[in-house]
Amino acid sequence: MAKELLEGNAAIAEAAIRAGVEAFFGYPITPQTEVLEHFSKRMPEEGRVFLQAESEVASINMVYGAACTGARVMTSSSSPGVSLMQEGISYIACSEVPVVLTNIMRGGPGLGNVQPAQGDYFQAVKSAGHGDYHMIVLAPANVQEAIDYVVLAFDLAEKYRTVVMIVADGSIGQMMEPAELPPMRPVRPPEERPSWALTGAKGREHNIVTSLYLGAENMEEINLRLQAKLKEIAANEVRWKEYYTEDADVLLVAFGTVGRICQTVVREARAKGIKAGLLRPITLWPFPSARIAELAGQVRGILTVEMNAGQMVDDVRLAVECVCPVRFYGRMGGIVPLPDDILPELEALIAEVSQG
């Protein structure tokens, strides 16, 4: 398929449709409303389910119900709406039904604003809902990646019977750029629903989808199973991208929108004779800790850049284990840092490590 000029949010929705999503339940919230609007137009055309829920609380539970049947389902929201979904996400994670959702993050806390931000890193990676679990979290940096990771998200969600969240922001969601959509996959026929799914107890024992395990031993057993699955995901599904890291002696680590901006920073630094490289995590969970640890042995220092007060930098520091200095630069409230803001921070890091 040829490249087209596509808006990020509409591309996310269309990619899901082409990946065979059978139902979308959502609620309007800026800056992701175009996801919902695209589904509202296209799902009826395809004879599939679109429903605007009364709240994000309802939409995540509609998704939960639909996912119990083994159907491919999705919801989408932005920061405050995703906060409302936390309860449902926890139930879904424990029940082990596959669900895909997006968080087109905006400035916070509170009602915040609708500008691009990455303040929900902790929520997505460390504290989605209550209890011990992680979602797989994918962070695209452009419209093409948003499309590709939506398709990947459904495959991962079903492979591991887990929740996969795509985190982006309004600059990716509302930007138009050339990108290629995947070919249309057929919707899986109902008779191919998985054996655990709620399809009616015809000629078999009744299936139960629950997250309630009253006995402590039972609940620990479920937790151990979830943890074993997370270990398997961590072993198999870590994804990241690198730029100019082969000979780098200073490393930038950044994801999403600011990860893309850091590619420009690397080029500008190289033009100045600085051997800079970039590692851009694609999976925020599982985090590319091993590769960052490896690079920490190669470079003199690491600068983590985020559109928040410093969240992913904790994971970078845990990976680096003090092998080299890790510094942070971030902007908040919807300010997108420019290469001219970041480059001096990189130069300051080089000055610091050169003194030592």
Partner: protein, 263 residues
């Protein structure tokens, strides 16, 4: 449960419905959940829909209903059963979907979900068990607790000046244009149990006929948290609950009337 051989000269006239499992329930002695479970199961059997039914259990005393109904079941978050049922039914329109919810679950924390599901005319059935108290958490004030009724969180009796008034759910849902069949029944005596079963059957038949959303509110008891004997609790409910929550249909569309008339 062991199998009993029926003597050749005797006819089997009463047995466990196929739609109930053989699990022992956790319900207190005297609780009416068992009666209501049985009525739902008998209806599923009689309509021959056990194998295509998907139920959604609530949070509350009937949280473990999925062990007792021998149909595919999901367990919802507190109050969210109607949202889950919406998702289930929308992607499985050929299945029969029901929620089984108590008063805290449906009338308090889940009021938005039930109102919107009903108003969208979702094609599922809700069994709403109203016993005027939070049973599982140990007897706190519910949205349906009667004025003056003593609970562990209204120790001097429900003060409507402070806590507001009990919610009349059948009237609320029946007043929505999206609902097709809404009724309030009671399992407080044998005639009431028979009427409740008829109502539950009509609710499922309305769903099967694609007529829209149906809800059966069932006045029930909680002798444990009311601190009464089972019989005393039935009498108390007849005297006090029925006075505040009048029995009867609050919504019956022409389609449902025709369906009922055709029986």
């Amino acid at each position: 449960m062991s199998t009993v051989e029926i003597p050749a000269d005797m006819e089997l006239i009463y047995e466990r419905p196929k739609s109930l499992t053989q699990a022992d329930t956790h319900y207190c002695p005297g609780c009416t959940h068992g009666t209501i479970h049985r009525l739902v199961a008998e209806v599923l059997d009689e309509l021959g829909i056990r194998e295509k039914t998907i139920g959604v259990a609530p949070v509350g005393c009937s949280v473990l209903a999925y062990y007792y109904f021998d149909v595919d079941m999901a367990e919802a978050a507190h109050g969210r059963a109607p949202a889950m049922a919406t998702g289930l039914k929308r992607v499985s329109p050929d299945k029969v979907v029901f929620t089984y919810q108590g008063d805290g679950d449906l009338a308090s924390i889940g009021i938005a979900e039930i109102v919107y599901a009903a108003n969208r005319g979702e094609m599922f059935t809700t069994i709403f068990v109203n016993n005027a108290i939070y049973g599982m958490t140990g007897g706190q004030m519910a949205p349906t607790t009667l004025p003056g009724q003593v609970t562990t969180s209204s120790p001097t009796g429900r003060d409507v000046e402070m806590a507001g008034f009990p919610m009349r759910i059948a009237e609320l849902i029946g007043g929505l244009p999206g609902s097709a069949y809404v009724t309030r029944q009671a399992v407080l005596d044998v005639p009431g149990i028979r009427r409740t079963k008829k109502a539950i059957k009509l609710a499922f038949q309305a769903q099967l006929a694609g007529l829209g959303f149906s809800l059966v509110e069932v006045l029930s008891t909680c002798n444990t948290n009311w601190h009464m004997g089972p019989v005393e609790a039935l009498e108390w409910a007849k005297e006090h609950m029925v006075a505040y929550f009048p029995l009867g249909d609050t919504k019956m569309t022409d389609g449902v009337k025709a369906l009922k008339g055709g029986k």
